[in-house]
């Protein structure tokens, strides 16, 4: 009972924030620019009154808070998830319209930048999903991403072949995961310790090899070919989302497939059911003949392979070369996305998009000279994750056996 009351209370607090923003909203227009120049169907720019839009958004927040309170207090029931979703959406709309009040908001470029930042986060969170669903906490996502980025740059440069680079990244990510698996499954070392240490180990090794090997001859070792963007016919012509989602590199299309594929494998196949059983209650799984250790090894290692792909996106998809510590904490944001997405690949992908959006917003705001400091936008993933694990908006519970070594008796 106590747990379920937190949601309406938290929503009420956030509604007050919405009210404060509404009161301080200026009565000027926010210009929305949807079409890009290359679109076939053009939608003209239009202005929206900031006050009016935030009033509507605020009304939705009130409705959601009221509905949540009604459910909890009268019906004695948990707040339905869609109510929280509607609330969150309304709050984001209000914040966005006010941030850009009197300025032009270019939706397509905002979204494009968000997706680019979200790709490694989503791949990283998939690694987390596969690992934690089978019962191994994966703090080492950062290391898996970084190893993928380094090896993909190195292999693709040496072979002048980006596909080989991609394969190298997959192997590198899987290798880091394998170490995580060996230490946490075979040697029963605390999984959090292994994760934290692996991140630093990968930083150390890649920095060392970068300074000694790569720097000695950058054209040979650190000039990989890059993937070109592929425009998908028809889908790419859809206004707004077309150019954002369907004019991307191969790695991004692989990401769509991975999210859908992992969701399907986890929740619709026998393999996924067994995997989740091992993560929830390994003893029971063992009793019915599921090989706990083998299942854990395989799932953790496959997870690392996906994170490796995310690392390759840094070098082969975006920057075009490796840089020291270039993942810059993305692995920890991926961990946040994983938790915020409740250990579900599809939710985690949306959480990754949200966090990518928040990170990207700082660039959009810097262009228009908004007074909101970038640090607060960057804080958003971390703050939201703390709110989520504290159960302030709904309760998040991970797989029951996650973080616990299984000792066969």
């Amino acid at each position: 009972m106590k747990q379920s009351k937190r949601t309406p209370i938290s929503l009420l607090v956030l509604t007050l924030l919405g009210l404060w923003m509404l009161v301080s909203a200026p009565a000027i227009d926010t210009t929305i620019k949807i079409s890009t120049d290359s679109d076939i169907f053009k939608i003209a720019e239009f202005g929206l009154n900031a006050q009016l839009v935030s009033a509507i958004a605020f009304a939705f927040q009130l409705l959601a808070t009221g509905y949540s309170s009604f459910f909890v207090l009268v019906r004695k029931h948990k707040t339905p998830r869609f109510v929280v979703l509607v609330f969150g959406l309304a709050l984001v709309v209000e914040i966005m319209i006010l941030l850009f009040a009197g300025k032009t908001m270019t939706i397509t470029s905002l979204l494009q930048g968000s997706l680019a930042l979200a790709v490694p986060l989503i791949f990283g969170s998939l690694a987390g999903v596969l690992s934690e669903r089978v019962g191994v906490v994966n703090i080492a996502i950062e290391g898996q991403l970084l190893a993928g980025a380094f090896i993909s740059a190195l292999v693709a440069s040496l072979s002048a072949n980006m596909y080989l680079g991609l394969i190298g990244a997959i192997i590198a990510g899987a290798l880091v995961s394998w170490v995580l698996a060996v230490f946490s499954i075979k040697y029963i070392v605390d999984q959090i310790i292994v994760g934290v240490v692996l991140n630093v180990l990968v930083v150390g090794v890649t920095n060392f090899l970068f300074s000694t090997l790569m720097v000695s001859n950058l054209t040979v070792f650190n000039q990989p070919p890059r993937f070109e963007k592929i425009l998908i016919p028809l889908l790419g012509q859809i206004p707004v989302i077309g150019p954002v989602l369907f004019n991307q590199t191969l790695i991004v299309y692989l990401m769509y497939l991975s999210v859908a594929g992992i969701w399907f494998a986890l929740f619709k196949t026998r393999w996924g059911l067994r995997l989740r059983a091992v993560g929830e209650y390994p003893k029971a799984a063992d009793t019915v003949g599921i090989k706990v250790f083998r299942t854990r090894y395989i799932s953790v290692i496959i997870g690392g392979a996906f994170a490796g792909l995310g690392g390759a996106f840094f070098t082969l998809g975006q920057v075009g070369s490796f840089g020291k510590e270039m993942t810059n904490g993305a692995g920890y944001i991926a961990l946040a996305a994983l938790i915020f997405g409740r250990w579900n690949p599809i939710y985690a992908a949306f959480a990754g998009l949200l966090f990518g959006f928040a990170q990207n917003l700082q660039y959009g705001l810097a262009i228009i000279g908004s007074p909101v400091p970038s640090e607060f936008l960057l804080m958003l993933p971390y703050a939201l994750t703390v709110i989520a694990v504290a159960g302030l908006v709904g309760k998040v519970t991970g797989p029951a056996a996650s973080g616990k070594a299984y000792i066969k008796s």
Partner: protein, 384 residues
Amino acid sequence: MKKAFREIVNGNIWLSFLAVVASFIVGGILIAFSSETVQTTATYLTARPTDFISAVWNAVFGAYDAMFRGAVFNYKADNLTFMIRPITETLAYATPIVMSGLGLAVAFKSGLFNIGAAGQIVFGAMFAGWVAIFVDLPGYIHFPIALLAGILGGALWGALAGFLKAATGANEVIVTIMFNYIAILLLGYLLKTPVLKAPGSVNPISPPVHDSAKYALLMGDQFRVHAGLIAMLIAVVFVWWLLNRSSIGFQFRALGHNPNAAKVAGINIGATTVLVMAVSGALSGLAGTSQIMGTEKFLTLGVAASFGFDAITVALLGRSNPWGVLMAGILFGGLRAGAVTMQANQGVPIDIVLVVQSMIVLFIAAPPLVRSMFRIKPQKEDAK
């Protein structure tokens, strides 16, 4: 004979020692790999293997010799000051590492996985820095107040994580990781605003600390070692007393051993959790004061450096025992100090420290691995 050897090898201290040795061997392999003479001699390895072996020896010995001269005693220096400076540098590096490592040791002993040393150091440094930089107080009171502010800052940030754990059941690992980032971003923001930024500066850096709020230098201007070293030693004794001799420490350890039993025994789990995290954070806050009021004297984004991770490794290597933390902290302080010389003299990148350090922790954490690595050769050892 064999049995006796096994017993020694299975002892914790020996395992720790062997883990360190194994890690230095891994580091040596990396050093050899990166050396250009080793690479060239490797091309005609079959023709003249001795060239290769001596190249490997020179690279590895040269690097570790430079590390020794940078961390312990520089026998090649001209005068006594330069000869003994390395060991004082080691102590200067070790001071914040040990302080923060002690904080984590308290948390680990109490069953709380505090990954948030970095954030707690930042908070300590922010609080202490603000008092030490922007508040004008008479000399004799300025230092203690700034010191207390730093301890308080770290304690508050730690206690907040503890409170979230106690009140909502939030996993402290996740919360403290996220808190690290929030703390550093907050510092980044404050260093851009007049709250902490030096007037007229374009960079995110604060004005210098007032002289009255600085830790006293222990060995004169030639050496960086400051009174934080004494604070560190006091902290070691304090944590030993707290964990082993006080009733609060007994409650801490009871919580760590078995929270359910502790609850039945009448220990208030929630309050103890908050207190553990407050004490843990306070010690990291103390580390923050050592950085801002002792070593750096300015507040920058790099104030926590890599001490957050160092603290974790030190607490693990020291097995959460205050004296062990002290030893481990001095070892890692030495690694840091030595690596600077090693990079300058031998061109071995300083990042080798991260590799050696993380290998040590991996080996320490997995005793069976170390045993299997060294048990291959016990006969040879016996034959000696």
